[in-house]
């Protein structure tokens, strides 16, 4: 177990380091001198030189990278070019919005998708199974940003049920929740079908195993067998999938945040790319990558904790 943990952690760290290096190189390939962008056209050469020295922009690139890396490791992500605000502070304000959206989306799709997959595996080819099959393909076929737009059209403009813009008033939990419904619905919808399909497939596989046959021979109800015994094993590939799919979920969150004018990391990245405010872009992209790597790590550890067979295989 310890060896597995060490290997898995090392892999995560290497991936984050590679991503940081890629990001750093990409941002240094941007046309335009960061000094003149930061100070504007009227700065004198002396001020420019002083700024370059202060930000270590006069040093060679590998040296700059090491400084960048040590700053990142100390939790210092630099500051906003325009407002001089700490990027870390901005992110810590925005991250909860994105995380709550992602958790809400994944949560409702798991709550609907996993039972749906189980029920259709209990009776393959029943009407519920066929319905789930059509639902899966249907929901996977509509990209999340299209679901967002069509949901606005239906629930906000035609029916006038739910608010469209923003994340709700601060402190008013009920208002924030009603603002969360549509984005979470849009981001999670494709996952309902995806999860139902995954769970159904692995459930059917598990149902063929000996211990399930024994349980059946004891006369347990199919429902009890599926939810009490088979689900424990059948859920494992789904957990891995949810971890890996978290990146796609973050992409969906970017669209949802832009379409619904919600605050969040995705929206910050989009706005700051358009404003060419690179320290914020850099910090926010780094934060999403770390978030993604941590989530896949948690998913993998969860699977290895639940299933001892995985521990030995890596």
């Amino acid at each position: 177990m310890f060896l597995y943990l060490a290997k898995r952690l090392l892999l995560s760290i290497v991936i984050i380091l590679l991503a940081v290096a890629t990001l750093f190189l990409m941002l240094h390939m941007i046309p335009g001198d960061p000094v003149s962008i930061a100070l504007g056209p009227r700065a004198t050469p002396e001020i420019q030189a002083a700024y370059a020295a202060k930000m270590h922009l006069d040093k060679p690139l590998p040296y700059q990278f090491l400084i960048f890396l040590s700053n990142v490791l100390q939790g210092d992500l630099g500051s906003d070019v325009f407002s001089n605000r700490s990027v870390g502070l901005t992110l810590s304000e925005q991250l909860p919005f994105t995380v709550s959206l992602a958790v809400a989306a994944l949560g409702w799709s798991a709550l609907v998708g996993i039972p749906l997959g189980c029920l259709s595996a209990i009776r393959p080819n029943s009407w519920l199974d066929r319905f789930t099959g059509i639902l899966s393909v249907g929901t996977i076929a509509v990209p999340s940003f299209l679901v967002s737009i069509w949901a606005i059209l239906l629930f906000s403009i035609a029916l006038r049920w739910l608010p469209v813009i923003g994340a709700g008033d601060e402190g008013d939990i009920l208002d924030q929740l009603t603002h969360l419904i549509l984005p979470a619905f849009a981001v999670g919808l494709g996952w309902v079908g995806y999860l139902a399909r995954m769970v159904r497939a692995s459930m059917l596989e598990v149902m063929g195993e000996n211990y399930i046959r024994s349980a059946r021979a004891f006369g347990l109800r199919p429902r009890t067998i599926v939810f009490r015994y088979a689900l424990k094993v059948a859920i494992l590939p789904t957990i891995t999938l949810m971890g890996v799919g978290f990146g796609g979920l973050l992409s969906g969150a970017v669209f949802a945040e832009i379409i619904f004018s919600r605050p969040g990391v995705g929206r910050i990245i989009y706005d700051m790319v358009l404003a060419r405010n690179f320290p914020v872009v850099q910090g926010a992209v780094l934060a999403t990558i770390v978030l993604y790597v941590v989530v896949t790590l948690i998913a993998d550890l969860l699977v290895s904790w639940l299933d001892p067979r995985v521990r030995d295989s890596l």
Binding site: V137, P143, F145, I149, I157, G247, G248
Partner: protein, 301 residues
């Protein structure tokens, strides 16, 4: 796409004594009996035809403005209504399909070829190369697509070429991993060992013996990948990071429609439907092909 794999089966089947019908025909028959697969094939055919023959099917010039009739709903003259400048939405959707087809055709084929080569090298080559390539694939996958695209657009400015580059870079790991797994399974097969003991070079072994056995699942993955690629293009163009107006793409139509969603619902409806139909078509086709050609894959993915 359905022709190449069945040709393979035909050559394999030829030494089999005459049974009245070939395995290729049997596969074709199996495919034709799959209603969802045929429906998918029809949608895919519509996607290609609509894009290739867009000027023939179009009722208007995609850029011609008809200001008095702007923001119209569907009428006899404008089948899917008009946009904020009075341009015909039906015509623009047809022309938007050309962008989608271009991105899908180039993006999928280039990433398929690169992924195939890298994957075979990873599976067949030395262990350090395998580890390096896997690490590379995992790193690419750790960037959420849209966020990678945003970072790239910040660097280079929006363009169709950039969309293509992003599509290719993000799709390579999928093909690479699949090719690697199949290559690993073949690596120690007897016919490969025989080939190696005859002194065949690595490139010959890979190209003549491994590739024909690996390519089948990759082609199925490619069919299923087309909607993903089309969606990435539409999504990036929707954000204003891909195809630029006035060029019509399903993404730009959706973006313009989203901005005027309170005035007319028709643009976001007309811009979205082809996206859904394309996805459904390629998904059904891909699944039917997989069931017919490679029943083993049914459980995976």
């Amino acid at each position: 796409m359905s022709v190449t794999p069945s040709d393979n089966y035909a050559t394999v089947a030829s030494p089999v004594p005459d049974r009245g019908y070939s395995i290729a025909r049997e596969k074709l028959f199996l495919f034709a009996r799959n209603p969802l697969g045929m429906f998918g094939l029809l949608l895919v055919f519509l996607f290609f035809a609509g894009a290739i023959f867009a000027p023939v099917f179009a009722t208007h010039d995609p850029f011609a403005m008809d200001i008095p009739n702007r923001l119209a709903g569907p009428t006899a003259q404008h089948w899917a209504g008009t946009d904020q400048l009075g341009r015909d939405t039906y015509t623009r959707v047809l022309y938007g399909g050309r962008v989608a087809l271009e991105v899908a055709a180039i993006g999928v084929s280039v990433s398929l070829v690169i992924g195939l080569i890298l994957g075979m090298l990873a599976g067949y080559g030395p262990a350090w190369l395998d580890n390096l390539l896997l690490l590379l694939f995992d790193t690419i996958r750790s960037f959420p697509t849209v966020i990678l695209a945003l970072a790239a657009v910040a660097l280079l400015g929006p363009s169709l070429k950039l969309v293509l580059a992003i599509v290719i870079v993000t799709s390579i790991p999928g093909y690479g991993r699949l090719a690697r797994t199949s290559t690993l399974a073949l690596k120690n097969a007897e016919f490969i060992i025989a080939e190696r003991s005859l002194g065949a070079s690595m490139s010959r072994t890979l190209a003549r013996h491994i590739m024909p056995n690996v390519i089948g699942p990759l082609l199925i993955l490619a069919a299923m990948d087309v909607p993903v690629v089309v969606t990435i293009e539409a999504g990036l163009s929707f954000l204003g990071l891909g195809v630029q107006p006035p060029t019509a793409s399903w993404g730009t139509i959706l973006n313009e429609g989203y901005l005027i969603i309170r005035d007319t619902p028709w643009m976001v409806i007309a811009g979205g439907i082809p996206l859904v139909l394309t996805t459904l078509g390629f998904t059904f086709l891909g699944e039917a092909l997989r069931d017919v050609l490679d029943p083993k894959l049914r459980k995976g993915r």
